[in-house]
Symmetry: C2
Subunit: 158 residues, 2 copies
Amino acid sequence: MTAPRSTKATDAATATALKLYVVLARAQRAVGERTQADLEPHGVSSTEFAIMEALYTKGPLLLGEVQRKILVSSGGITFLVDKLTDRGLVERQMCPNDRRARYAALTRKGVALMREIFPRHAAAIRDAMSGLSQAEQKEAAALLKRLGLAAAAATGEA
Amino acid sequence: MTAPRSTKATDAATATALKLYVVLARAQRAVGERTQADLEPHGVSSTEFAIMEALYTKGPLLLGEVQRKILVSSGGITFLVDKLTDRGLVERQMCPNDRRARYAALTRKGVALMREIFPRHAAAIRDAMSGLSQAEQKEAAALLKRLGLAAAAATGEA
DNA sequence: CCTTATTATCTCAGTAATGAGAGATTCGAT
DNA sequence: ATCGAATCTCTCATTACTGAGATAATAAGG
């Protein structure tokens, strides 16, 4: 969209952006691998954990709410909630106001599992981030937040 | 690994790390969606582009070298190179020194495609990152590089 | 030479999704 | 009330992988 600032194939601004692109992808992968490794012994994937965490901290949510929160497709949320339901961790509940909609809610077993693994997993994420000081983490988070919001806004508007 | 610094389930350090975890994931997704949208009209996925870019800038590479560079499984690199080969963009070449190994190399058609889309895609990445100034991008990249290296090192050692 | 370990790719079954479209229901404007 | 558009979930075919193991070739040590 923006006009190139020079005729050279990769000018300085582009080179900087490409570098950020690469380290962003690698950092997320490295962190993701560590945090996934923490969940694995419990037989829970990162995505599944994200769903359960949302229900754990917010209580029952409509499937669509969970879907938007964890950023999966409509088919994906059905698939994931099915899997968690089969394992007895989550259940669907009717929505009294809207008969199209369903709530997802943690079962007693799901709550018990979250009580067990949530603090441990939060600590695993803290450890995965410990390559940066807390001040640096805050700085990185502020930068990434702006980056993410700007990129998302631009996608939406186009 | 590290002992918790307080008995509270989510202390300040953990809260900071969790926040970074979330914005990291969201920033990468937002940027990824924009850059993917740029490639889509050309029928090339991000992963496929990553392979072709490696071959474009470095010349023929052993499959294993590409695999480590773009971080996919051994089965994945076979699958991806197969697909690119079927479309006539990449070809396998014998390795004279090692008869187990194969080179992946861009075909003439692959080179032509890269010449067309590479500068455009680099510009799309630059635009996707333009929510941050160039100085901020450098700062973010430096932080993320340290974060990624530390996290990867810790995964390896465990 | 052998033998054993290592390395490089490929095969194959399985998994975690996506995305288009179908049904059912609700909402909004007449 | 009724029609049409919008909304919520689910179904299904398809995709892009992963990971374990097979196969083949090389390397290293005795």
